[in-house]
């Protein structure tokens, strides 16, 4: 990468579980994560920094110290929010001691969600930060989309990255919404059915949703590319519609049991046809009538 300025980095922990901070140390000191390629210098005094790496959900006690500290930084500088907590306060949201997220107190440039993000993602986020810093220095327009800089990073199959949903298998039962500890899943009723939304920026990538999902509809992928500009903070979502079906008997809307769920209930036997065609009310009536005819 062509460089016009030496990136000088200072890290601030605003109350994190230290996961992001530990992984930052790994990123900075283990050669396989390539941070050395960016020529980043870790500075001792915040006054000397032009890249701020900030972790944590901004605790009550950190806030005043934080504002005092960052007031010493001279523009232009770049702010990289590392970890889900910094982006949305994640799992700690709605506690009396949490004053974040970070963007209430400083203009953020790049976010990287993760709990914690892997060093490869942190390195990529810092690389994007360096690039943005150069654009700021040269008064160039900001990139609208971030092109991946470190293209050779891979993740094992089993890595718990971005969550995805197979709408075909989902019955909108709300298990995932209930077990999600960081409020990353919302299921809302619309005219067409249930809308299932996953907001990656508040996900803590724990996999509780996929572990408890009765049909295997929601699952983790090994995609760790959660690096994005602040402008994308609220739009990085996975939205799926679980459509209503019209009951063949009464015409009312209902969500039929999916094939995956039915096979759990009827592992060996033949599946009664009405399960997918009639609403629960009509099925109840039909069964009742059959018994007492």
């Amino acid at each position: 990468m062509e460089q016009t300025v030496k990136p000088r980095l200072f890290r601030i922990n605003t109350g994190s579980c230290n996961g992001c901070d530990v992984e930052f140390v790994a990123t900075a000191f283990v050669p396989k994560f390539h941070l050395d390629q960016l020529g980043v210098e870790l500075v001792d005094r915040i006054e000397d920094a032009n890249i701020l790496v900030i972790t944590g959900p901004m605790t009550a006690r950190s806030q005043a110290f934080f504002e005092e500290a960052v007031s010493k930084v001279k523009p232009p500088y770049v702010v990289v929010g590392v970890g889900t907590c910094s982006v949305t306060t994640g799992i700690f949201r709605d506690s009396y001691a949490i004053y974040g997220p970070l963007d209430k107190y400083i203009d953020v440039d790049v976010n990287v969600a993760g709990c914690p993000p892997r060093p490869q993602a942190i390195a990529e986020a810092i690389a994007q930060g360096v690039k943005i810093l150069q654009s700021k220095l040269l008064d160039q327009p900001m990139p609208t989309k971030l092109e991946t800089i470190f293209t050779d990073f891979e993740a094992p199959e089993s890595y718990r990255g971005r969550i995805s949903l197979d709408a075909q298998k989902c019955t909108a039962c709300r298990t995932c919404e209930t077990v999600c500890p960081s409020g990353a899943i919302k299921i809302t009723k619309t005219l067409e059915g249930y809308e299932h939304t996953i907001w990656h920026n508040t996900c803590c990538f724990c996999g509780n949703c996929s572990y408890y999902c009765p049909t295997g509809a929601i699952f983790t992928t090994n995609d760790f590319h959660t690096i994005q500009r602040q402008e994308e903070k609220y739009t990085d979502t996975h939205v799926a519609l679980i459509p209503f079906h019209e009951c063949e008997d009464c015409g009312k809307n209902f969500i039929p049991a999916t094939e995956a769920l039915i096979h759990r209930s009827y592992p060996k036997e033949e599946v009664p046809e009405m399960l997918t065609k009639s609403c629960p009310e009509c099925r109840k009536r039909t069964t009742f009538e059959r018994c007492y005819r």
Binding site: G15, V22, V30, T59, F65, D94, P181, C206, G207
Partner: protein, 360 residues
């Protein structure tokens, strides 16, 4: 003349935010210590009562990323005690594997920070790279380098097949000579010895008075390792041999941690080679009635206790936990008084402080 020195709360040598106010004399020797806490206080004991038992498996894991496995482990033990269920033996074994892998990685991180703080960069890099073997293993088997999400109520979420067992054993084969070399270096390397021996001493009497635990206690000759004193999971059979030192200094504590890693390797090998057959968790989700329980486990930093009170609903009425750093912290004052200002962050690191754990 006395000089006032402040360190923190945001400082490159501090992994987590804390604020020191020190007074020092002309020889730069600390004459007064004031520690200001609370930067990582997230009100978690209030949050756990707002979340259900499934959510709390993960919230407890986020207390701290370095002992992230111990929290859901202890929490699950408390729930299981109240629910009156017995965990399958295979799950107990898998809990030990996850915990000891975590212990090894956590201790190596602390040692790497020690090397970093004494500006021994080669040793720091070597320690971090050795730790990467554990990090890679965690990512492949559990899906994350820090938060393993290994525990569930009544068991574990993951299983090991032959291929994974093979991977663990191969990793440990590579790991063992590296660990031996590190142990040798931390024990005898001139630079390490010069900066850590006789530094930050915690006499045994003070250690007893303050109720310290873990490597901080063992470095001062006190063994109160929960795995030995009140064994859980399979530790009664595995019988961990803990390292004891009497010097009570930065060096002694580091060597206790290295000893713990050697033991971790031995126990992981023993467990995965003789993995009991059976289920990894009970098929039925437990009914959690009203009740209360107090349980303990040994985290990398020492004793972790969980108190849980339930009322038959889906959320805890009260949950409290106490981590090793909570009691080890006061010992810092003993260690720092009379030390050089330039040794303060090194001494802080020697209790392997987990501030996020402590302040919750």
């Amino acid at each position: 003349m006395s000089e006032r020195v402040t360190i923190g709360p945001f400082h490159p040598e501090l992994e987590e935010s804390v604020y020191f106010k020190l007074s020092a004399n002309d020889d730069k020797v600390v004459t007064h210590v004031d520690l200001i806490n609370g930067f990582i206080h997230r009100g978690m004991e209030s949050l756990v009562t707002q979340k259900n038992f499934m959510q709390n498996l993960i919230l407890t894991e986020r207390v701290c990323s370095l002992c992230s496995n111990n929290h859901p482990f202890a929490y699950a033990l408390a729930v299981e005690k109240i629910a009156g269920v017995k965990v399958p033996r295979r799950a107990e074994a898998l809990r030990v594997v996850a915990d000891e892998v975590k212990r090894a990685a956590s201790n190596l991180f602390n040692l790497a920070m020690l090397a970093h703080l004494i500006h021994h960069h080669d040793l720091m890099k070597e320690t971090m790279e050795t730790r990467e073997l554990m990090q890679d293993l965690k990512e492949i088997i559990w899906g994350n380098r820090m938060d393993m999400s290994a525990n569930t109520l009544t068991g574990v979420k993951y299983d090991l097949d032959d291929e994974k067992i093979d991977l663990i054993l191969k990793t440990l084969e590579t790991f063992t000579p590296k660990l031996a070399s590190l142990t040798e270096q931390y024990e005898h390397d001139e630079k390490v010895v010069a900066r850590t021996v006789g530094i930050g001493v915690l006499p045994k009497a003070d250690a007893l008075r303050l109720g310290v635990t873990g490597p901080v206690a063992r470095g001062s000759g006190i063994n109160n390792d929960v795995r030995v004193k009140a064994p859980y999971a399979l530790y009664d059979e595995l019988k961990p041999k803990v390292t004891l030192r009497d010097a009570g200094d930065v060096h002694a504590r580091a060597m206790c941690r290295l000893g713990d890693i050697t033991e971790a390797v031995r126990m992981i090998k023993e467990v995965v080679k003789n993995l009991p057959e059976g289920e990894i968790a009970l098929a039925k989700r437990p009914h959690i009635p009203a009740g209360e329980a107090t349980v303990r486990v040994e985290a990398p930093r020492g004793e972790l206790i969980y108190y849980l009170k339930t009322d038959g609903t889906q959320k805890p009425v009260r949950m409290r936990w106490k981590v090793p750093t909570y009691t080890n912290w006061e010992a810092l004052k003993v260690m720092i008084l009379g030390s050089k200002v330039s040794d303060v962050t090194l001494i802080l690191n020697s209790i392997d402080p987990c501030i996020s754990c402590t302040e919750r």
